[in-house]
Amino acid sequence: MNWKHAFTSSIGKKLVMGITGISLIAFLCVHVYVNALIFVPDGYHKYEVAAHFLGSNPLTRIAEIGLLLGIILHIVQGLMLWSQNRSKRPVKYAVYDGKANSTWYSRSMGLLGTLILIFLVLHLAHFWAPNRWQQLTTGHERNLYAEMEAIFQNGIVVIVYILGCISLAWHLMHGFWSAFQTLGLSTAKYRPIINGIGIAFSILVPLLFIAMPVAFYFGWLPPAASFTEVAH
């Protein structure tokens, strides 16, 4: 069987979702780690160094392209799967008691994913896009700490970020285990471990992300103006 066929069969499409999904989980680990450094009370030094390292290192820039492709693949394949799967039941049930046999979030991955996508567009427009643009045109990155401080003064933005992170939490609550199941790794022996890590990850990571806008909004973090510039 050729590779194309292997990745376009019903299982193959899910393999694409699983592999990109686990890559995105790996990215979230890096993202949350670097950003959580803003909570280290060291005059924002560690965060600055880590963010600058990621932003200027050629290897991470190449990885960034891979990440973008992964996100796009995950989104496009996900939406296609959603619409194809819907077409497999042309006449709907009059009564369908889904909650009797499955969790609501496992049945709502398309919806949760779409909510995350909406949030993601806003999020990239807030930080990633202007930063890369300035880097491209002037060669200097923006002060992302100061950007966060400014953007998270808006209560509506903070609420949207919180909702985005909550969608992410429920998406991960199913997606984490589901990816391992699709890749054939969730054996009877490993399933409890995968489940445990999955649940912890799905709660902790979004919670840490939520803490960032909330902390800036309520002024729990020192203002950017109080730091002396770190020389690049």
């Binding site: 019903s10 299982i11 899910k14 009059a94 009564v95 009797a100 969730s186």
Partner: protein, 255 residues
């Protein structure tokens, strides 16, 4: 348990044939015994319809003891009704009380077109089995017993997978109308045994291919199938099916 009688309102899907649009009809049944099975209650309703000169409701049934998998009915939003690991023929009327309304629909899936009323065409499952659910055996004299040593755990797992009765509840329950639990049971019970080794890789690839051709959806791991399966087939089999599939396409020995 105390025996009682009940009157019920039934909303049943009626459809003349595959082309007909179909719709719900409402019926009243009286003095239904709590000790009847769900299908016996339908027998009473059909008697009543015949006496009234109406067309009785067509539904699949055969063994009426929970082993053939024919009795496909989607009852109040769930395949085979509310009881765990139970087929419709084994669902009993003590579940219901006087005055209840019960909605009964056929399995809904593109791959299971309605033939008439509650009866659907499940030959898609037969074609999936034909595409790979077999093994090669030597002809000639029968081997001595125990010639093939088989690990007890593997034999048990294989046996548990082989318990699948092909009822289609997994497809009926799945929001994607996916047949992965059924297929995973069929692939697993052969892949776990040495007898299944010869076609192991071609089997899984051909059967997945056939499943896709029949128009079943992709598995999104909601696990509704396992919860509704009358034989308790575990989604661990889907894990195995995925692994078998990956192994087959990576090895290149799948032709």
């Amino acid at each position: 348990m105390e025996h009682y009688n009940m009157n019920l309102t039934l909303k049943v899907w009626r459809q003349k044939n595959a082309q007909d649009k179909g719709g719900f009809e409402t019926y009243q049944v009286k003095d239904i015994s709590s000790e009847m099975s769900f299908l016996e209650m339908f027998d009473v309703l059909n008697e009543q319809l015949i006496n009234e000169g109406k067309e009785p409701i067509t539904f699949d049934h055969d063994c009426r003891e929970g082993i053939c998998g024919a009795c496909s009915m989607h009852i109040n939003g769930r395949p085979h009704g509310p009881w765990g690991q139970t087929t419709t023929c084994q669902l009993h009327m003590r579940e219901y009380k006087n005055g209840d309304t019960i909605v009964v629909e056929p399995w809904r899936a593109k791959a299971f077109p309605v033939i008439k009323d509650l009866m659907v065409d499940r030959t898609a499952f037969d074609r999936i089995i034909q595409s790979g659910g077999y093994i090669s055996v030597d002809t000639g004299n029968a081997q001595d017993a125990n010639n093939l040593p088989i690990n007890k755990d593997k034999a048990d797992e294989s046996f548990a997978a082989a318990a699948c009765i092909g009822c289609g509840a997994c497809v009926a329950a799945c929001k994607n109308a996916s047949a992965m639990l059924f297929l995973s049971a069929k692939v697993s019970h052969l892949a776990l045994l040495p007898q299944g080794e010869v076609e192991r890789k071609t089997r899984v690839v051909n059967m997945v291919d056939q499943m896709d051709k029949e128009g079943f959806g992709s598995c999104t791991n909601t696990e509704a199938c396992e919860a509704e399966c009358p034989k308790g087939i575990s989604v661990l089999n889907i894990r195995r099916l995925n692994a078998e599939y990956i192994g087959a396409i990576m090895s290149g020995d799948d032709k």
